[in-house]
Subunit: 199 residues, 2 copies
């Protein structure tokens, strides 16, 4: 972006353009939107950003986002500490919580194994997971890493380490609900066949 | 969005989702990006937003964005005050400045006439434009309102008021440079025909 308008506007456009999926044109459109809005709106956005910078830290138990020491899930005594769902990032927790099908706790690895990208086991929060498994008498590990190469490798790595001590499960792969067989890719359809169930 | 994570994160997602073109999923993705980034980045974004809220006001001459009384164009003595390009919004100024083809000044109407939406002449900055025309001895008005129904109506309205006193021009309508005739819509192609030039 050129400095056609004013330095403050240019600076805002530059900051917005650093966000993922926001190109220079979108950044300019967002900046103009904020400039045209009543000042309470950009003010509220700036304050919301400041608030997360100041308040949010990793949950000391599961490494999801927390405002105190514990995230809302770890702070909830009704959640079963003996079943842990392992995810790569906190965003996966939001998706799983929306299903209302899981009543255990979570553990955020902070990524997935990918030696080619230099992500080795010691770069993930695996030691912390081991401690929780020991301390809380975990009986089941639900591995919900992404169905990608790295996510699958991580799932196998974790399963191999603990399957002698506890039940290890993996989210099912298969056809998305509502999907059309004709448009399913071969890998997904292959998984759906391998994972077929009696009805 | 449910309050699955923490109140601060939920509040940030809600504020981001108010931005145009940002749905709840994108807002969540942006919030997670800001949470994962080094704290300087969200801090810089919050400060850039605060800065525009505090520093930006309408240019007292042309009603574009200014940090002092005048926008950079109106403050530049090399810009010709006798040629005024009339736009609906400041964003159009950025687009026109990028062409480096215009050396006059601008006037931001603040919208386009649209009686159906309740936008009448007195809702636009037309009286202020009249004052500038008188005071600066304007010789040409380049009307660069959008090529939409409302923009065209506004252009005609303005032209009818001043064409006895000064030259009034309108940006050409026609085929975008690099476009394919096969994909041009009929209205644009019709305009291109009507506006054909000798070569």
């Amino acid at each position: 972006m050129s400095s056609i308008l004013t330095p403050s506007v240019d600076a805002l456009v530059a900051e917005l353009a650093r966000l993922p999926g926001i190109g220079p044109r979108s950044a300019q459109r967002l900046a103009f939107h904020l400039l045209k809005a009543p000042p309470e709106r950009p003010q509220a956005l700036a304050e919301a950003i400041q608030a997360v910078v100041e308040n949010i830290r990793p949950c000391t138990e599961c490494f999801s986002f927390a405002e105190g020491d514990l995230c809302p899930v770890c702070a909830d005594p009704r959640r079963d500490p003996t079943v842990i769902c392992v995810v790569e990032e906190p965003s996966a927790i939001v998706s799983i919580e929306r299903t209302h099908e899981f009543r255990g706790r979570y553990h955020v690895l902070g990524g997935a194994l990918s030696p080619i990208d230099g992500v080795d086991p010691e770069d993930l929060r695996i030691a912390e997971l081991d401690q929780r498994i020991e301390r809380d008498g975990v009986t089941e590990l639900v591995i919900a890493t992404n169905p990608t190469m790295a996510g699958e490798a991580t799932a196998l790595f974790l399963a191999d380490r603990v399957r002698d001590r506890l039940r290890v499960t993996r989210l099912a792969s298969g056809l998305p609900v509502g999907a059309d067989l004709e448009h399913a890719d071969e890998l997904t359809l292959g998984r759906a066949l391998l994972g077929r169930r009696d009805i």
